[in-house]
Amino acid sequence: MDVVIWTIVFLGGSALAVVLLLLWAVKKDREKLVRAENGDTGDPGD
C-alpha cells in the first residue's frame, strides 16, 4: 500500500504539477493577450 501511495505522490504528483503549470501558463498568456487587445502593455509578442 505504501508503494502505491508514494508512487502516486511522486509520479502522479509530478504529472499533475506539469499539467497545472502548463494550464496556468496558457491562462496567463490569454490574460496578457486580452490586456494587449484592450491597449494595455504586456503583449508577449515580438
Partner: protein, 504 residues
C-alpha cells in the same frame, strides 16, 4: 545583432510560450534522466532523495535558470555577449568559460547520442531477444572504433542539419513535436513496466522514502548534484534559448515548468527502468545493475530484459532506445545551438558557422568515441565544471544588481519571486563552495585516492582543476578579443572602449 538580424532587421523568436517551454524541457531531459536518476534515487533513500531533489530545484535550479533566462533575453546574445553586457567587457571571458564547458560536454555527448542511435538500430532489427548477450554486444560495439565513430558522426551531422536550419525551420520545428512524443513514449514504457508482475519492488526502491537518510549530508550533496546535471542550470543552454524568447515573456513560471517537466521525465524513466528490472529479476541482479554505472545499466543489464517481456523484442526495445536517442539528441541540439549562437554573434553567418562547428565537434569527439576512459574523464571534468557556470550566472546577477534584476524579473513574471530569489542568488556562492568542495573531496578519497594529484588520471582532482585552469587562462587571454568581436546587442551602445553600460 547576428548577421541575419543586421540584414533583415528582424529578431527571430519562438512562436509561442508552449513551444519555448517544450524546447527548454528538451534541453534539460537527456540520458541522465534515464540512467543516472534511477540509480541515484534508488541507492539513496528513494522518496527521501526525491524530497531533497525538490528542495534542490527550489534553491539552486530555478533561481539560476531564471538568471540565465534574464541574461539571454535582455542581451539577445549568446553566453559571451551576455556576460560582457551584464558585467562589463572585462568579464566576457566568463561567458566564454561557461560556453566552452558545455561545448566540451557536447564533444563526448555526441558519442553518447551515437550509442543510443546504434542501440535503436539494434532494437528495430530484433537484436534484444531472449538470451541476448548484451555484455558481449556492448563490448563489441564500444571496442570497434569505426562503429562508435560512425554513429558519433551520424549524431553530430543530424543535429548540425537541424541547427543549420535555424530556429523556425530547424530546432523549433523539430522539438515542438519531438518533446511531446518523447513523453508519450515514456508514459507507454512506464505503463508497460508498472503492469509487469513484481514491478512494485522497483517502485518501492524508487519512491518509498527512507527518511533516516535525510540526516546524511551525502544524500543532500548527491541530490544537489543530480539537480545540477539534470536541469541544465548553469550550462548556458537556457540562456541561449532565451535569446529567442518573446518580449515580456515570463521568467518564474517558465523556469518552474521546465524543472517540473525534467522531474516528470526522470520519474517516468525511473519507473520504466526500476519497475522492469525488479519485475524480471532478483533484487541482487537489480542492485548489481544499479552499481554497474550509467552505460552498464542501460546497455547491458536493462537491454537483457527485453527478450523476457511480452512484446519486448520488437516493440518495447525499439521504443526505449528511441526515447533514449530522442532525449540525448534534444540536449545535443541545445549544445550545438549554444556554440552556433556565440559564433554567429562574432559575425560568422549560421550557414558558414554550422559546418565548421560540426567538423570541430566531430574531430574533438573522436577520442571519446575510441576510449571510454577518455570519455569518462571529460564527463567528470566538464560535468563538475558545470557547477562553475551556475556560480558565474549568480555572480553576473550580483554584478548587475540583484535587486534591479529581481524587479525586472517580477515585472514580467506570472508570479513574483521577491526576496526568495534575491536571497538564494546571494547565498549561491556558499552553496557552490559546499558542493564543489564535496566533489573535490570525493575525487581525493573515493574516485582517485592513489593518484588524485596526477593530471593524467581519469578522475583526479589534478585533471579536473588543470583543465579548468587551462580553459580559464585561454579565455582570459582572449577576453579583449571576445569582447570586441561579439556584436552589440540591445543592452549596449557603442562607446568605443571601456566597459559597456547596460541600457535602462
Amino acid at each position: 545583432m547576428s548577421t541575419q538580424e543586421q540584414r533583415t532587421g528582424k529578431h527571430e523568436v519562438f512562436s509561442s510560450r508552449l513551444t519555448f517551454i517544450a524546447v527548454a524541457v528538451g534541453m534539460a531531459v537527456g540520458t541522465g534522466n534515464i540512467w543516472r536518476f534511477p540509480r541515484e534515487v534508488g541507492a539513496w533513500g528513494g522518496g527521501a532523495f526525491l524530497v531533497a531533489l525538490l528542495i534542490a530545484f527550489l534553491v539552486w535550479a530555478i533561481p539560476i535558470l531564471m538568471a540565465e533566462q534574464y541574461l539571454g533575453s535582455r542581451s539577445r546574445l549568446g553566453t559571451v555577449g551576455a556576460f560582457r553586457d551584464f558585467m562589463g567587457r572585462k568579464f566576457a571571458w566568463m561567458g566564454g568559460f561557461m560556453g566552452f564547458v558545455t561545448i566540451g560536454i557536447m564533444f563526448y555527448y555526441s558519442v553518447v547520442c551515437g550509442w543510443a542511435i546504434r542501440y535503436f538500430v539494434y532494437a528495430v532489427t530484433g537484436t534484444f531477444e531472449s538470451g541476448a548477450d548484451t555484455e558481449g554486444l556492448w563490448n563489441g560495439f564500444t571496442g570497434t572504433p569505426w562503429q562508435t565513430i560512425l554513429f558519433h558522426a551520424i549524431a553530430i551531422v543530424l543535429v548540425g542539419i537541424i541547427i543549420f536550419r535555424g530556429l523556425k525551420r530547424g530546432f523549433e520545428a523539430i522539438l515542438k513535436f519531438a518533446i511531446p512524443i518523447l513523453f508519450v513514449l515514456l508514459v507507454a514504457l512506464a505503463i508497460r513496466a508498472m503492469t509487469l508482475p513484481g514491478a512494485s519492488d522497483g517502485l518501492r526502491f524508487l519512491f518509498v522514502p527512507e527518511w533516516d537518510l535525510l540526516g546524511d549530508p551525502e544524500l543532500w550533496l548527491r541530490a544537489f548534484s543530480q539537480m545540477a546535471f539534470s536541469t541544465g542550470a548553469g550550462w548556458g543552454l537556457y540562456l541561449t534559448y532565451s535569446v529567442y524568447m518573446r518580449k515580456r515573456e515570463d521568467f518564474a513560471l517558465n523556469s518552474t515548468t521546465l524543472v517540473a517537466g525534467d522531474f516528470l521525465a526522470a520519474t517516468l524513466a525511473g519507473t520504466v527502468v526500476m519497475g522492469t528490472i525488479f519485475a524480471l529479476r532478483t533484487q541482487e541482479f537489480a542492485l548489481e545493475a544499479v552499481e554497474s554505472g550509467n552505460e552498464g545499466l542501460a546497455f547491458i543489464y536493462f537491454a537483457e530484459l527485453f527478450g523476457e517481456m511480452p512484446g519486448g523484442t520488437w516493440v518495447f526495445a525499439p521504443i526505449f532506445f528511441l526515447a533514449l536517442a530522442m532525449a540525448a539528441l534534444s540536449s545535443l541540439i541545445a549544445m550545438m545551438e549554444l556554440a552556433t549562437r556565440n559564433v554567429e554573434d562574432m559575425g560568422l553567418p549560421r550557414r558558414r558557422a554550422v559546418p565548421w562547428i560540426v567538423l570541430v565537434a566531430f574531430i574533438a569527439g573522436i577520442p571519446s568515441a575510441i576510449s571510454l576512459e577518455f570519455l569518462g574523464n571529460q564527463d567528470f571534468v566538464w560535468g563538475v565544471g558545470l557547477l562553475i557556470g551556475g556560480l558565474f550566472a549568480a555572480v553576473a546577477m550580483m554584478k548587475f544588481g540583484v535587486s534591479r534584476a529581481r524587479e525586472e524579473l517580477d515585472a514580467d513574471s506570472d508570479f513574483r519571486v521577491t526576496w526568495w530569489w534575491s536571497g538564494l542568488i546571494r547565498i549561491f556562492p556558499l552553496l557552490f563552495v559546499i558542493l564543489m568542495g564535496w566533489w573535490i573531496q570525493q575525487s581525493i578519497t573515493v574516485f582517485a585516492p592513489d593518484d588524485w594529484w596526477n593530471p593524467l588520471a581519469e578522475l583526479s582532482v589534478a585533471t579536473m582543476i588543470g583543465q579548468w585552469l587551462l580553459l580559464a587562462i585561454v579565455m582570459l587571454l582572449l577576453n579583449n578579443w571576445l569582447g570586441r568581436k561579439v556584436a552589440h546587442g540591445p543592452m549596449t551602445t557603442p562607446t568605443g572602449s571601456g566597459s559597456v553600460q547596460p541600457e535602462k
